[in-house]
Symmetry: C2
Subunit: 112 residues, 2 copies
């Protein structure tokens, strides 16, 4: 990490940017228990077909998901499971922070 040039930094930033949208996180989350096609992901995520397709395209371009068309459907799956490690790390941090905030809130409520 310490000796990354600007090009590599941009690369890393793009990777994080792919994870920086709730809809894409929802899709990745839905893929945790195996591949799904666009229709399924559209229904699960609650988005429109066009929007989900666009997000999937971006995720595939970033190498986060794999694309495989079978018949008239296209099945997407997680390309690199280590993305979930990232999410676990972040969720852990956020969980801690939310707990802290909840405590703070409670403290405020008690002393008000």
């Amino acid at each position: 990490m310490s000796k990354l040039d600007d090009h590599a930094l941009q690369y890393v930033a793009n990777y994080f940017k792919a994870l920086a949208e709730p809809m894409r996180l929802k899709v990745l989350n839905a893929l945790q228990d195996g591949e799904k096609n666009v229709s399924q992901l559209t229904e699960i995520s609650g988005g429109t077909q066009a929007n989900v397709s666009k997000h999937l395209s971006l995720l595939a371009q970033c190498g986060l998901v794999k694309r495989e068309s079978r018949g008239t459907s296209v099945y997407y799956s997680i390309a690199d499971p280590s993305v979930y490690e990232l999410c676990e790390l972040v969720c852990g941090q956020i969980g801690n922070r939310m707990l802290a905030e909840a405590d703070l809130k409670k403290a405020f409520t008690l002393t008000r």
Copy 2:
């Protein structure tokens, strides 16, 4: 990760978004070996003072860095070192992908 509601997903997405800019990664990188003030970070990053200040403000708001003003200077430091674990994970993945791309490129060059 599996049972995150929309609010939590937005929270996670915001966290990743904070890491989705090369300038902010550069700043975080510069803070790896200890706290630095805004002037130092401005010089290291090569950005303008105003821009660096804005990025620091965002990083602080996301809980990634701590702010402490001493005299006329403001010193920033990493709030949660686990952010580097994230970067290591991502860099590992990207490193592998870059190697793969390099191999691909070499193969193309050889067979052309």
